[in-house]
Amino acid sequence: MEKQWEEMSSDEKQEEMFNRWLSPKDSQGNGLKFQSPQTEKAFKDRITRIKDAIQMKKLPDRVPVFLAPSFFPVYYAGITPQESMYDYDKCCMAFKKFVLDFEPDGHLGAFVPGAGKALEILDYKLYSWPGHGVSPDASYQANEGEYMKANEYEALIDDPSNFFSNTYLPRVFGALEGFKMLPALTGILEMYGVAVNFIPFGLPPVQASYKAFFEAGAEALKWIGAMGAWNDEIAAAGFPIIVAGFTKAPFDVIGDTLRGTRGIMLDMYRQPDKLLEALDRLTPLMIKMGVGTAQMAGHPLIFMPLHKGADGFLSDAQFKKFYWPTFRKVMMGLIAEGVVPMPAAEGRWTTRLEVVQDLPKGKTLWMIDQSDIAKAKKTLGKVACMYGNVPSDILAVGTPQQVKDYVKNLINTCAKGGGFIVSNGAFFDQAKAENVHAVVDTTKEYGVYK
């Protein structure tokens, strides 16, 4: 008899999540129809190769290869980032061309550009995007700010959802200003609570904000319809997407978009206890976010973009006190539910490697950028599969021969014993197509385990 989810160990849960990924459903919830038995085999071979690399129990048939671009597929297809954010058909065309032309074992889907019109409806302030603060041929970029004030930790800790809906959202979305007038929904308790607490919903600014909310929702639905159909088509052609969704390290939640880099750094000195309490408060929310998405997608890999933990951003003591404990808790919470956290250590993390290797073996998948890769293999690489390290500079201005030499050297340094996937190390926009081909082709040629 099959075990119920609740009765499974975390190992069994992870195995079950991989099984779901191996037998995918289409966007309508039915079993995915592959183009041919060959593409079905290619799809399953690719996932098995990735799974073996992650679990570190047996060697894959060869070193897998990922391509994790930012807007590169858009430039490669000859459209602008602006077009890719507003014309979903063009976006899908570009990313389809990218996957089919380069044939990586794993790709990130067509999600990077997102739904430009929804951002416009909401008047999103946290990012500048093509045509809104940056030129039509540039990628979107974050506008840092103190979207949460230094004296608002209590409000966040008391009721994170209420803080988000009534304070944070109105600040980052101009069209949601009206939400400042919303009541706390936990006040709707009794007969007399109903009328009183519904008053704000009748006010014109609140209704205007809800109107924008619904319009953005309709646009997001249109976008996900295009993305879902794209995923079905590309999976049916044999190419698995490697990310089901994302979550974050609590320190980055506060440091990136709530308090900002400057804000959180001052808080470490001026109100460390409040900061620590808020990090704890966000931890279960970040676990639920990752587990929920993985369950919904039937896919074990949850991406975690890491930012403020990189070398130099914190001292060793600050990293151990403020960044690592709740980051690790989030990963352990995901692992317990069969999810494979995929932290992306962009930039340099060389000084963190010894700390972050305190993880169970075969349960995480790390993107490594410019960290000392030989040291990474000897530390983190003992317990975790790593991907990345092919640098953006040679992809953009180097030659295919340089790329080939780099990848061969990388395979020699890291692939022994498994637990390694060749990939670019940072999400890139600019690159020469022949150099991107060289990453994939060299891996397929030299990465075979004998």
């Binding site: 940056v134 970029q141 951003f313 001292s315 500079d393 953009a396 926009d429």
Partner: protein, 210 residues
């Protein structure tokens, strides 16, 4: 005896530093001297950063303490705190890129090391760099960028400097995110600085003080 503002600030003791400044102001101390001590404190902060004793949060916090101190002293300042500068540097994040954290750190380090930095900000078109070089006569230009799209913007900026006939009058350094010596060659810049300290060393070397 007044406590030592230089070391209190260098040790990032915010409250104590503010108390000292208030005490010294009410005792009628020369506000110019107070600012001079604050500057010396910041110099030590920069030194500790370059020796990996301090990290980015320490720089940010020291900058914040300095801001508070400056606000206290400013109303009493009769003359400006013009100290002799080592040389002028024009600095900015190149066109299309709006990242500023890395740029701000290098600007901070150049400043505490005695350079007069003209920080243009982010997303700066090539022509703006050219204009600022002409206006200030700065012999050093720093181009910052985080994204791979900055590769081409940097190249265009160096070309614009060349087209304006200024290329042999300035030294250009690049840095940030995905920059490297490879990209330095691509852009036609003179040097790549791996971090803020490398940027300071380059500037010192180019002005003949390092």
């Amino acid at each position: 005896m007044a406590k030592d503002l230089v070391n209190t600030l260098a040790d990032l003791k915010e409250q104590e530093a503010i108390e000292i400044v208030k005490d010294r102001l009410s005792a009628g101390d020369d506000p110019f001297k107070i600012m001079e001590d604050a500057r010396k404190g910041m110099e030590i902060v920069g030194k500790r950063f370059s020796e990996s004793e301090y990290f980015i949060p320490d720089l940010v916090y020291s900058g914040e303490i300095l801001r508070v101190v400056t606000e206290l002293v400013k109303p009493k300042l009769t003359k400006t705190t013009e100290s002799k500068k080592l040389g002028k540097v024009v600095f900015g994040t190149v066109a299309g890129d709006i990242h500023d954290i890395g740029k701000d750190i290098v600007v901070f380090m150049l400043d505490v090391n005695g350079f007069e930095v003209h920080d243009l900000g982010v997303d700066i078109p090539a022509q703006k760099f050219v204009e600022k070089i002409k206006e200030t006569g700065a012999p050093i230009v720093g181009l910052s960028g985080f994204l791979t799209l900055a590769f081409d913007s940097m190249k265009e900026t160096v070309e614009a400097i060349k087209a304006a006939g200024l290329r042999d009058k300035v030294k250009v350094m690049i840095g940030g995110g995905q920059m490297s010596d490879e990209i330095k060659n691509y852009t036609g810049a003179d040097a790549y600085g791996k971090d803020a300290m490398a940027g300071v060393s380059l500037a010192k070397k180019w002005t003949g003080v390092g």
